[in-house]
């Protein structure tokens, strides 16, 4: 009985490594050299990132020699992102484009990839600057944080916008959101009569965001505005306001893809939705990845030609997508993502 136990222990490594193949192949075979570009979102299965992936695929198809791999953790766990980077490093891909969920966690893996000669860039959110060559920057945390508060102020109206506001975030540990919140609080100093009365998490759960918004409106009867600062929290909060019959009385703003918010913008619950053109972001990322791998893009460049987007500016090592978009009743129908 016990002997068999030992046998098993002895057997396992044999099974594990016994099959070490003598032919260490590389993924890229064949005549025409194909570039493998890996695109890592913070969380897979979210429309925001899926719409980025659409643009990325478009770029890959246009370029023809790009093999695009789009994969990321479905639960958004940063350590899984790091594991995926490590896996791609082993597979010897050409470019890894990372949207870091938690820069500290994924940076070591990114550095290791660079040591192996893989080009690493960041998109959507930046990582440690020494861990990547370029950052495809759609907006900084400061821009977003300030933008949110400014939009709310504009929507509240008046020279000195006033009222109680609340923030519904994703989770309390979400790195991005926490950065935005920091800048939002900073910006609120500019509007002394805008008072932040609550910050609540919604566990990346639309239902919970809905319930939290309901509770906030009751617990704070004077509530004038709600920031839904994750793409899950925003529609949940908007629905709560709408069902409470407070459309227009309690303003909701935040970040989300326009398709998910169209109904609320049209019925007046939401005046403004803030975001950037996400397919364009994906498109730009793949273009930058391609040019970096082919050598067309070198550090120090000040601009890049990107297909249908034309020329984009590069500031330092930041490739800039352009301005934030504010979707309103007037323009939201022009966007489909």
């Amino acid at each position: 009985m016990k002997r068999c136990g030992w046998l098993m222990v002895a057997l396992v490594p044999f099974v594990l490594f016994g099959g070490c193949g003598p032919k260490p192949g590389t993924p890229d075979t064949g005549g025409k050299k194909k570039l493998t570009v890996c695109m890592l979102p913070k969380k897979k299965g979210v429309p925001y990132f899926t719409s980025c992936a659409q643009g990325a695929e478009e770029a890959a198809k246009e370029l023809g020699n790009v093999e695009l791999i789009y994969d990321g953790p479905t639960d958004g766990a940063a350590e899984k992102s790091a594991s995926m980077i490590e896996k791609w490093t082993l597979q010897g891909v050409d470019v890894i484009a990372v949207s870091p969920n938690d820069p500290e966690v994924v940076s070591p893996a990114m550095r290791k990839a660079r040591e192996k000669g893989i080009k690493v860039i960041t998109w959507d959110a930046d990582g440690a600057t020494d861990a990547r060559e370029f950052f495809v920057n759609q907006a900084t945390a400061q821009e977003i944080g300030y933008g949110l508060v400014d939009t709310m102020a504009k929507d509240l109206g008046g020279a000195e916008p006033e009222g109680e506001v609340a923030i519904i975030t994703a989770t309390l540990t979400a790195a991005n959101q926490n950065a935005w919140i920091k800048f939002m609080k900073e910006r609120m100093a500019k509007y002394p009569k805008m008072k932040l009365v609550a910050l609540q998490p919604s566990s990346e759960d639309q239902k919970l965001a809905f319930q939290v918004a309901q509770d906030l409106m009751k617990a704070h009867p004077n509530l004038k505005g709600i920031f839904g600062i994750s793409s899950v929290a925003f529609p949940g909060a908007a629905e709560a306001v709408k069902q409470a019959g407070k459309s227009g009385k309690v303003l909701v703003t935040g970040l989300a893809t326009p398709n998910d918010m169209k109904a609320y913008v049209k019925d007046g619950t939401v005046k403004s939705v803030i975001l950037w053109n996400t397919p364009d972001l994906g498109y730009l990322t793949v273009r930058v990845a391609h040019d970096l791998a082919t050598g067309a893009l070198k550090p120090g460049a000040t601009s890049i030609q990107v297909g249908r987007l034309g020329e984009k500016k590069i500031e330092g090592d930041n490739v800039l997508l352009g301005k934030l978009l504010v979707f309103t009743k007037e323009n939201i129908d022009q966007y489909d993502f």
């Binding site: 429309p47 992936a53 009867p221 899950v232």
Partner: protein
């Protein structure tokens, strides 16, 4: 003699009811808005899905089995419902969507039941596997997009009211009452208790464990579908994360309500009290408005609440014994 004070004090239902009463009284004292009609309505709506599914889970626990696939099942059923009815996808009419969702829920529940009772795989393994697999499947069939464009007929289930009371509360109330009657007043209900109480004796008494287990799992699947229909339609968008962690909420509530995970013990009333107690904790904290950092302690307070609830009856029946705990 049988219903002595000590017995009453030692019953989990009593402890949970007392804790619930105290909590509501204290919060209402500090912030009367807590017991306003609107807030009570919202809290009940929040509790409705857990109460509906809790009925099924109570029966599963009574037979000595467990189902922890509930959350992923709900996510999957929501996706099925959305894909069938959304104007961007299947575009089926609402009644067809309802029928498909209920059928899919029952079928998944039945599959759990078949694997447990015919395949003889322990239910915790079957449903742990399902919890993982169905979540992945949901992500796959939704393809990274959320589903909007749910027909108004379905949205009505989540947003409509009848005589001023939201439909989800009606559905939950009817389910709970039916389950309560079923458990207490029908032969089948008694047999579920009997099976969990002593499986060997149940066979000798001519009961069929296979059939009973198939039934409770299928029923649970059906009720998850019901909860999906009235719960997820409250919102305009169906996302792939629907139901994440829902299984923990329901299992915890039912267990806090006094059901034994060894089978044979548990009541619908206890389940309902457990669901409400745990369901209102978050709202309570918002209404107490303890300041900015309090939100970070929310989960700790929730955990403490659960501990207090399950410890109350243990403290009431303080006597030590070598028997295995239930």
């Amino acid at each position: 003699m049988t219903v002595s004070f000590r017995n009453l004090a030692a019953r989990r239902e009593t402890g949970v009811a007392v804790l619930l009463g105290l909590t509501v009284a204290v919060v209402a004292g500090l912030n009367p808005a807590f017991v306003s009609g609107a807030n009570i309505r919202d809290m009940l709506v929040q509790c409705a899905p857990a109460a509906i599914v809790g009925c099924g889970l109570t029966f599963v626990l009574l037979t000595g089995e467990i189902d922890i696939s509930l959350g992923s099942m709900m996510g999957f059923l929501a996706a099925v419902m959305g894909l069938a009815t959304s104007s961007q996808y299947g575009n089926l009419p609402a009644p067809a969507g309802i029928a498909i969702t209920l059928a899919a829920g029952t079928a998944i529940g039945l599959l759990n039941g078949v694997l447990v009772s015919v395949g003889r795989v322990p239910s915790i393994i079957v449903t742990l596997g399902m919890l993982t697999a169905l979540r992945g499947l949901t992500e796959l069939i939704m393809g990274g997009k959320w589903i909007s464009g749910i027909p108004p007929g379905l949205r009505y289930l989540g947003t409509g009211t009848v005589i001023g009371v939201p439909i989800s509360i009606w559905v939950a109330a009817v389910t709970v009452v039916l389950a309560w009657l079923f458990a207490r007043e029908t032969p089948a209900g008694r047999r579920i208790y009997a099976l969990g109480s002593n499986p060997k004796a149940a066979v000798l008494a001519g009961l069929s464990p296979t059939r009973i287990k198939l039934f409770v799992f299928a029923l649970t699947g059906f009720l998850v579908a019901v909860a999906t229909l009235v719960g997820t339609t409250q919102l305009s968008v169906i996302e792939s994360g629907i139901g994440v962690g829902f299984e923990m909420v329901v299992v915890t509530s039912v267990v806090v309500g006094g059901a034994s995970i060894n089978g044979g013990k548990g009541t619908i009333l206890g389940m309902l009290l457990g669901v409400i107690l745990l369901g209102i904790v978050r709202t309570v904290l918002i209404f107490l408005n303890l300041g900015e950092t309090s939100v970070y302690w929310e989960r700790a307070i929730q955990g403490a609440f659960i501990l207090v609830a399950v410890l109350m009856d243990h403290l009431a029946s303080r006597r030590k014994s070598a028997e295995v705990p239930t």
